[in-house]
């Protein structure tokens, strides 16, 4: 059973972690990767360019109703929630969830709904609990759950919260995350062996 999407959540320490993750993915990585990185409301753009610099995949901030394309990395725009509906992006300016907009939980829960067992959720470093509920939703739909090893995380609270709420499938050091995702993308049955 093939996976169709990877959703990634990161907060404090996420810039470095995302750079490590993206730079580890080969150009032929074909799953769309959708990223929520918490950032301040006033933090101007530039994050996208920063990540694109270390990525072989094109990185962009999606607009409303833009189709989710394979082989692309997408970054949730600041001050919007990002959801997926009918294989397209949907944005929302609803209130922040747990002080966060974009919220990792919002993205992950919509991905769980849309892709069911074909979604992979990844929680990276962060100093809050966002993403734990979303990752649990992915697991509940039969999707695959990956968490950065709290030991390698700049802030371990977010990985810890995710691990406490869900029996996650894999806990990986940051340096091994990209290779793990790549293997899963070409050999989805690998986890079951």
């Amino acid at each position: 059973m093939a996976y169709e999407i990877v959703v990634v959540g990161a907060s404090t320490g996420g810039l470095r972690a995302l750079r490590v993750l993206l730079s580890g993915l080969p150009a032929e990585f074909f799953l769309p990767m959708v990223i929520v990185q918490h950032r301040g409301k006033h933090m101007e753009t530039g994050l996208c360019e920063f990540l694109a610099h270390s990525s072989r995949l094109p990185v962009g901030e999606p607009e409303d109703k833009e189709p989710v394309l394979p082989g692309h990395a997408y970054l949730a725009p600041r001050d919007y929630h990002l959801l997926i509906q009918s294989r397209s992006f949907a944005l929302s300016t609803e209130s922040p969830v747990g002080f966060a907009r974009p919220s990792i939980d919002v993205l992950f829960e919509s991905a769980a709904d849309e892709y069911r067992k074909r979604a992979i959720g990844v929680i990276l470093t962060g100093a809050n609990h966002d993403g734990a509920r979303g990752l649990a939703a992915i697991k509940a739909q039969g999707g695959l759950t990956l968490v950065e090893d709290p030991v390698t995380a700049v802030c371990r609270e977010m990985p810890d919260a995710a691990i406490n709420l869900t029996r996650v499938d894999w806990i990986l050091p940051l340096q091994e995350m990209a290779a793990g995702l790549y293997r899963l993308s070409i050999n989805p049955g690998q986890y079951e062996s």
């Binding site: 409301k41 006033h42 901030e61 999606p62 607009e63 409303d64 109703k65 833009e66 725009p77 919007y80 929630h81 959801l83 997926i84 509906q85 009918s86 397209s88 949907a90 944005l91 929302s92 300016t93 609803e94 209130s95 919002v106 829960e109 919509s110 709904d113 849309e114 069911r116 067992k117 509940a140 739909q141 039969g142």
Partner: protein
């Protein structure tokens, strides 16, 4: 994998369809073509707020309890916005749209989906500073009476003013932002002069038609809650309501690209979502 969770999820989708269908048939409020992902979130949040465990139980209450119906409608129609949200949009409006508007003796403006009115007051301030307000009439519409009441009151939380003041200055505002409101306890009330040329009224983009011809239509971060079919319909409606060379403004992550009217507008600049009807 958990088949139980999958079944609950499918059941929930069915229940949501039934709820929206019932709401439409009983009261005419049509949320059936709203983007499923976000409306589902809202419904489940509201349901938990009512301490109910299933959407079916929620449907029962929405259909039989008028107070619950009002809470439900308010919950579905508020979209959190800010004054001068995306300051560069307003800066471009000042620099590129205001000169166009000066050429008209009167200017009809429609803020479609005005929610609690932040955008309406922002626009009114801008037009007043540009000495255009006197010849403008702003129609501010929304589907919810409750939301319109808030917009008409012009009362906003004091805590938001720091952000709004920043936005205002980034948007080219040269005055003291606090000149426009009076603070009282933890709220502020905006000057009633700002709404002297504003008509607040109920209008449902999903079901109502055009009601005037406008030189400017702003519909920002409203259609993001609609599915593609409804979006397409509303784009036709707004296009039909805009005069030739009229200006159309969207939220800064919305795009005409995926809509049927894309070819009928030209961009005012390549950054902000401000367009001019050219066909």
């Amino acid at each position: 994998m958990s088949t139980v969770a999958t079944e609950v999820n499918d059941l929930e989708d069915i229940e949501i369809s039934l709820l929206l269908d019932g709401l439409y048939r009983a009261y005419g409020f049509d949320f059936r073509e709203y983007s499923r992902a976000s409306i589902k979130r809202r419904i489940l949040d509201l349901m938990h707020g009512e301490n109910l465990a299933t959407v079916s139980a929620f449907q029962d209450r929405v259909l039989h309890d008028a107070a619950c119906l009002n809470r439900f409608l308010l919950g579905l129609s508020v979209h959190a916005t800010a004054m001068f949200r995306d300051p560069s949009f307003y800066l471009t409006f000042r620099k590129k749209v205001v000169p166009l508007l000066r050429t008209y003796p009167t200017v009809q403006i429609w803020v479609a989906g005005c929610s609690t009115g932040e955008e309406v007051y922002s626009l009114a301030i801008l037009l007043q500073e540009e000495r255009l307000y006197g010849r403008c009439r702003i129609y501010a519409t929304d589907i919810s009476q409750a939301v319109l009441r808030k917009a008409r009151d012009g009362i906003f939380p004091l805590a938001a003013m720091r952000d709004y003041t920043n936005n205002y200055h980034q948007a080219g505002g040269a005055n003291e932002f606090s000149d426009y409101y009076t603070a009282q306890y933890d709220s502020v009330i905006f000057s009633s002069a700002l709404k002297s040329n504003v008509v607040f009224s109920e209008h449902n983009l999903a079901t109502d038609g055009s009601f005037n011809e406008f030189q400017v239509i702003l519909c920002r971060n409203v259609m993001i809650y609609f599915n593609k079919d409804l979006q397409a319909r509303v784009h036709h409606l707004l296009y039909d309501s805009l005069s030739m060379f009229g200006v159309f403004g969207l939220g800064n992550k919305e795009s005409l690209k995926f809509t049927p009217r894309a070819a009928f507008y030209e961009h005012l600049n390549d950054k902000d979502k401000l367009y001019r009807k050219v066909m």
